[in-house]
């Protein structure tokens, strides 16, 4: 029977390998420097060109989303862990609930909130991604803050340092590595999101757009748009894009794990 368990385990790993190897095999055929630096050709049937506009768009939109969600998230986590009370408990509960909201629903919310007034834009996409990242960052930050020894806080208070200073200068820095891990994982998640961006940033497959008040493309949107066409050339670009996206996400995820392990090791 344990043999059966081992077989199932092997099958699961085989599926993981299947996905990664297939994407790598297809993507390597089309991934080159031109792909990373050029925009798509005007005619989708034409080979060549690349997803430079999507890559730049992803960096801008996810970057803005990170800027919006990290300060808010860390501060909210501080509220939950350092200040406690019923309000904070409610926040913790709501955060857990927000983690489970489908990202397309978040996209619809941001459409209703922002796009109906200001139009489709990279900024709307950033807001949607920030809302997706926020609960993740709060959760991991809260976990990390809880790991900081109480003794540290008490020592700081005994020295007469104010609550605020304690948190900012003592608690947060010691939790910083763990918080960074959480942020990196949230960024990896945001890079891979497509659904909320369909309703907010809308996408722009044609040319490079760096102004976040206009509609922008991201790597994920460009992969989606090009994957569902029948043009071989466009699909080839989509495979190269998929490989690029997986590499970015894997690098972020694995790096976050490595940092996280070092934090855990240092703590014990």
């Amino acid at each position: 029977m344990t043999v059966l368990l081992a077989i199932v385990m092997a099958a699961t790993l085989a599926v993981l390998a299947w996905v990664l190897v297939y994407v790598a095999a297809q993507g390597l055929k089309y991934l080159n420097l031109a792909f990373l630096t050029q925009t798509p050709p005007g005619n989708p049937a034409q080979p060549g060109g690349g997803f430079a506009n999507g890559i730049v768009g992803s960096l801008i939109i996810v970057g803005l989303a990170t800027l919006m969600s990290v300060p808010t998230g860390v501060t909210a986590a501080v509220a939950i862990v350092e200040y406690g009370g019923r309000f904070a408990a409610a926040t913790s509960f709501v955060t857990d609930v927000l983690v489970g909201i489908p990202s397309i629903v978040t996209g619809a919310f941001v459409y209703a909130l922002w796009v109906t007034t200001f139009g489709f834009s990279g900024l709307a996409g950033s807001i949607a991604l920030a809302l997706v990242m926020l609960p993740l960052i709060i959760r991991t930050t809260a976990e990390m803050l809880r790991l900081v020894p109480v003794a540290l806080r008490e020592a700081s208070a005994a020295l007469g340092v104010s609550r605020a200073r304690t948190i900012v200068s003592v608690v947060l820095p010691s939790a910083m590595a763990g918080i960074t891990t959480g942020v990196m994982l949230a960024v990896a998640r945001a890079m891979g999101e497509t659904a909320p961006l369909l309703l907010t940033a809308l996408g722009n497959d044609l040319f490079m757009e760096t102004n976040p008040t206009q509609r922008m493309s991201t790597l994920s949107l460009q992969i989606f748009g090009n994957a569902v066409t029948g043009f071989q050339a466009a699909q080839g670009r989509a495979w190269a894009g998929a490989l690029t996206l997986i590499l970015i996400v894997l690098v972020l995820t694995i790096a976050a794990r490595l940092i996280g392990r070092r934090v855990a090791a240092a703590r014990s």
Binding site: F109, L199, V249
Partner: protein
């Protein structure tokens, strides 16, 4: 060591920490609670704004008609007609339930097996690498799963689907559920992709649950001469039942909301419910993604917001239920 002391608070006896409320502290406290407030506002705002956008359609057709109408046909909508409601959403609920069910039927047993293997069968040095690898499945973006699904998975599914159609498809009664023809894109394909996507989260929770089974019970069973599997069956699985259930419910919550991978492999047929799992269909999430930016018919966009609103409610309920069950299982087991 002397630290600069500026308030009388420090003059109180040792062991008494009085909270100082200086100006900086007050501002900081306000900022902290403002951030917490934003979180609460986001949840409330989501519900309110979705309801607000859905309202025109709800008022025009009446809320109940969305569930009693049997078809989604935006082209039949007119600015003034109210009956029948051309925006029946039942087939999307059906599609969501069906694809998630197929996903869970596959993912839960596999997750239990993998979690058991990792916690109790594999040598301890393999535990972390195996867990990381399974978690990697969760890191792969949805659009990549969809893309892989079309080109790698579907060709591999054809023989399986045709086999099921030729055997189960002819059984009286359940035959209509397994009726052909199979064109690649279908509820079935979406269900398989979902099972791969939710596997990591169900496995992770099961792993946690199995790891907290008391070691002495396990050792006692082994000392009595049981095989490894018998030990697992007697000492680990029975007490983990509610934990596994909770994991399954949380996985279901994740499957319900999955959008892009599903929309790429489900066929996007929106008219009415198709009974066979090999037919094309749509889910609540996939129809929103597909039709949102081109919803130009009268009441089309508000009706999509009706779908979004119900998707929000359903996922909130499922996720809350899952969390509750897991929390109770955690306190039961240890």
């Amino acid at each position: 060591m002397t630290a600069p002391v500026t308030t009388p608070a420090a003059a109180t006896g040792a062991g008494q920490l009085r909270r100082r409320r200086g100006y900086g502290d007050r501002m900081f406290r306000a900022a902290v609670f403002a951030a917490a407030g934003i979180v609460l506002l986001v949840l409330l705002g989501t519900g309110l704004f979705l309801a607000k956008e859905a309202w025109p359609a709800l008022r025009h057709y009446g809320p109940l008609s969305f569930i009693t109408s049997d078809r989604w046909a935006p082209s039949n909508a007119t600015a003034t007609g109210t009956h029948p409601n051309p925006y029946g959403i039942l087939q999307f609920v059906y599609g969501t339930v069906l694809t998630s069910l197929i996903g869970m039927v596959i993912a839960v047993p596999v997750a239990v097996a993998v979690a058991l293997f990792i916690t109790d069968v594999a040598p301890s040095w393999l535990r972390r690498p195996l867990s990381y690898l399974v978690d990697l499945l969760a890191a792969i973006p949805s659009v990549v799963y969809g893309f892989w699904g079309i080109f790698a998975l579907i060709p591999a599914l054809y023989p399986i689907a045709n086999f099921l159609i030729s055997t189960l498809g002819n059984v009286p009664g359940i035959g209509i559920v397994f009726a052909g023809p199979f064109f690649g894109v279908s509820y079935f394909t979406a269900g398989i992709v979902l099972s791969i996507m939710v596997l990591p989260i169900v496995t992770a929770i099961c792993r946690e649950v199995f790891a907290t089974a008391p070691a002495d019970e396990k050792e006692a069973a082994l000392a009595l001469g049981t095989t490894r599997w018998e030990m697992l069956r007697m000492a680990v699985l029975p007490r983990s039942r509610s934990g596994i259930t909770g994991a399954a419910i949380l996985g279901l919550g994740r499957a319900i909301g999955e959008t892009i991978a599903v929309t790429m492999v489900i066929g996007n047929s929106v008219l009415a419910i198709s009974t066979s799992i090999f037919a094309q269909g749509a889910t609540m999430a996939s129809v929103i993604a597909n039709e949102f930016t081109e919803a130009t018919e009268p009441f089309h966009l508000p009706s999509l917001f009706v779908v979004a609103f119900w998707l929000l409610i359903i996922s909130l309920i499922v996720n809350a239920a899952g969390k509750l069950v897991v929390r109770r299982a955690r306190s039961d087991i240890a």
